[in-house]
Symmetry: C2
Subunit: 343 residues, 2 copies
DNA sequence: TTGAAAGCGCTACCAA
DNA sequence: TTGGTAGCGCTTTCAA
């Protein structure tokens, strides 16, 4: 009101009758300010409605409080749930440190060498969070080359900072549950081959089967690619096994839902004839006519942890690469039951 | 490599053998640079891997390229779809101007006077996008008081910059469709009373009924609040009408889905006995056993348009408040059919 | 077409 | 406990 244009730190200093240094100290909560002066500065700030110019603060050497999140634009509708869980989790985590979130949405399935790496040039970005490794390899490589701090989610690698879900033990839990129900002929439809999640879930399946002394019949491991269609195709293949499985561990819910449809269309019952366990707990999983037993990944929690981790990294509290693994949880619904007698 | 620490514009100027002014001109694409010098600068930039310090640019008067998006953290799972549509749309729109997106997630249903208005103090934020008016009243008021440019989505108000969906005509379309099918006894379950969307959809219903010369029987307007439960309750109430409706326009999909469930549990058929039209086209709408006919709101498009609008505003291309309204689209699925003969 | 130099608003260092 | 002042890295006059 007093003056045209923006109020700056000198205006505050003048009306408080103190130096800009003192004002700066108050703004930054430096303890060496007498309480009476602190009060005068605060009054002046209020009176003038002063807001520090963040760019000037950053330029003068103050640490930036903004973190970038690089997130995939998903092609499939139900994956948007993961995306929003991650955003919520990150926002949650950062808010505990009053950090700001800069969002960078990358197009799906694009050759990531063509991706816009603009965010890497934003010198005020303190660190980066990658919602996934897949699709961001190029950007991650550049971030590393530039010396930008970052954390990768849904991924595990001893040479990177990352937080992941323990797919391996989650798969084991799923098989344990099935085995506990009395199933012996347990098959699996895998995720996309050579993906970390797909691989670990498959390994978990194999390990648990071995531990229970269960035989993996020929044809019991069917390769999927996360898509609905591959779930349907996978189930068709399983029907052709000489010994039809009584339970199937499907590495993704979208595939699992289609697998159930195929079973039912073949005139068989879920879980009566075949039990199904999925993976992901997408929203639809609870709403289909035969609600799906599935493994829920704590995406929001993972995102929050990764924000915490990045905070520790940029503030120099940790040295070298750090990893964290979270456990997934088996959600029991209606697609699983003990096998039929004699089957 | 040449030098410790960050490369700055002087380093570039020195290795190019030119002034910092010229380097700045190249960075900012000012035309008054000879092509030979432009080339030398570009080479130097490449060689040193130089990135302009954004804070310094902003401080020196360059217009900021970062825009804030204020978005609600939804309580209900299926609303996350709206959220991600909005984020995608905004990201899309901003990317056309190379603008960056700062995300501010507000908690749901919180007294918005307690909300963290930190984002308003980020002096490098060029303008704000509000994903909704509801829940952000306090923040909007402050933004206006501070003179920050902003656009509000899903809302219409002649004194604000906003882009909305035409709920009114969308509701009319829905009733026209039902009427065209031959329905005469058409009821409605409304949204939360006193919300703009709820009000407009109800008005559209009334207007269309009037235009078709259809009588709104007593009890045909039932008040809902968007929640699943209110959809079920609403349908129960409709059953008590002396003349049972043959079609119901439900102002939200979550309510509509529950309404269908109630009808079916009462032993009646959808659409045989009662046709249902929803509103929103949430992902689940297409997947329920009786896929829902519903009004799809172009959320991503709306978000994109609002990004464009904000760009026009901050760049001074428009004066005063601007509004834009988008049309929704009726998606015909399996929950609607002509009424039974004689009913 | 080019460059010198004056800020932009702040923090950090050094002195008092 | 306080303040003076030198940058931080850039854009933008203004002159040449």
């Amino acid at each position: 009101m007093v003056k045209k244009g923006k109020i700056n730190i000198s205006d505050v200093a003048r009306t408080a009758g103190l130096s800009t240094t003192t004002v700066s100290r108050v703004i930054n909560n430096v303890s060496t300010v007498s309480s009476s002066n602190r009060y005068r500065v605060e009054e002046a700030i209020k009176k003038l409605n002063y807001k520090p110019n963040v760019s000037a603060q950053y330029l003068a050497g103050k640490k930036s409080m903004t973190v970038g999140l690089v997130i995939q634009r998903y092609a499939q509708m139900f994956q948007t749930f993961h995306m929003s869980e991650i955003i919520h989790g990150v926002a949650d985590g950062l808010s505990e440190f009053n950090m700001d979130l800069l969002l960078h949405v990358t197009p799906p399935e694009m050759d990531d060498r063509l991706v816009n790496t603009h965010i890497l040039n934003l010198t005020f970005v303190r660190g980066l969070l990658f919602s996934d490794k897949v699709g961001n390899e190029e950007m991650i490589k550049k971030a590393r080359a530039e010396g930008i701090d970052y954390v990768i989610m849904i991924h595990h690698d001893k040479s990177e900072n990352c937080v992941s879900i323990n797919n391996h033990t989650a798969a084991i839990d799923a098989i344990n549950y099935l085995s506990g129900l009395g199933h012996k002929r347990i098959a699996t439809i895998t995720g996309k081959p050579y993906t970390q999640a797909g691989g670990e879930r498959l390994e978990g399946y194999k390990e648990a089967m071995r531990d229970h002394g269960l035989k993996i019949e020929s044809g019991y491991i069917v390769e999927g690619d996360w898509s609905s269609k591959s779930g349907a195709d996978g189930m068709e293949k399983l029907f052709k096994c000489s010994q039809r499985p009584t339970a199937v561990f499907v590495a993704g819910d979208e595939m699992a839902i289609e697998a159930i449809r195929v079973i039912q269309e073949a005139g068989l019952k879920v879980p009566g004839d075949i039990s199904i366990v999925g993976f992901d707990d997408i929203p639809l999983a609870a709403y289909i006519p035969t609600p799906l037993t599935t493994v829920r990944q704590p995406m929001a929690e993972m995102a929050k942890r990764s924000a915490f981790m990045l905070n520790r990294i940029v503030s120099g509290e940790v040295e070298g690469a750090v990893q964290e693994k979270l456990s997934a949880e088996l959600v029991k619904r209606k697609s699983t039951a003990p096998p039929k007698k004699g089957s």
